[in-house]
Symmetry: C2
Subunit: 128 residues, 2 copies
DNA sequence: CCCGATCGTTTCGGTTCCGGATCAATTCTA
DNA sequence: TAGAATTGATCCGGAACCGAAACGATCGGG
């Protein structure tokens, strides 16, 4: 699985993806909201408010508000923990899977044909 | 330059990078501020307010305010256009190059060892 | 030399987000 | 079972951001 990415390609990948995301009419999430969404979908459950706050090193109210927004969009779902009813478990949704699939496609599309742009005379190690 | 990235790897790359960015004590830029910074550094000059606004499809005041923040951080510099003094040209700075170099390293670090995590039994095409 | 067009900025009103403190509900402990 | 601890939500004041509209400065055509 040759996965290689030099500094310039990394920045160009990021630029293209952000550009595509801003252009997209879909509700664009903030950095923290996106991070929460990715954590819920890519790391093993269970996911609680305090757990997400600790993992992202942000405050609990910030997580609560982000969950309000994300669940309002339908890409996430809150569910009471039956074993400890103080806790709230965060679950995935179909809409969230669709959203992230499209987001992944955006990133991949931004990365295609990225390694073949090196101008022959450029110093391969210099960024700027 | 074999650059390959499947959907799951793309999302995981994004998650790790966002996480590292949030943890970093450095002033975390918004999505649009980052996009402006990357456009200035990765696309050929000249860069004007209206040009950036058009490229990012955001309003001119949003660009002006982002330039206020970014130039305040020292990662960008405004300079009057001598040929057309209505225009403002946006230039790079050393601090900006340093900032983006570190950002690029963050992305690359998030991407290292990303392709060797496929569990053998997983359906390679299914995201969730 | 104007007068319209264009540029970036500022003003304005409104929305969103933040962290600390606080709260009610629930669980744990002595 | 009473009190301490924990969890998530809410309140609060402040900061950041947004787009539309208005503004001054500048350029260009007639």
């Amino acid at each position: 699985m040759g996965f290689d990415l030099d500094d310039m390609e990394a920045l160009e990948l990021w630029r293209r993806t952000l550009l595509a995301g801003i252009h997209r009419s879909a509700p664009d999430l903030s950095v923290r909201q996106t991070a929460i969404l990715l954590c819920v979908y890519l790391t093993p459950p269970p996911h609680t408010v305090r757990g997400l706050a600790a993992r992202l090193k942000i405050s609990k109210p910030a997580v609560t508000r982000a969950l309000d927004t994300l669940s309002g969009l339908g890409v996430l779902r809150r569910k009471a923990d039956e074993n400890d009813r103080r806790s709230v478990l965060v679950h995935r949704t179909v809409a969230g899977s669709v959203y992230l699939s499209e987001f992944a496609e955006t990133i991949v599309a931004a990365g295609t044909g990225l390694g073949s742009e090196k101008s022959p005379g450029s110093d391969p190690g210099a960024l700027f």
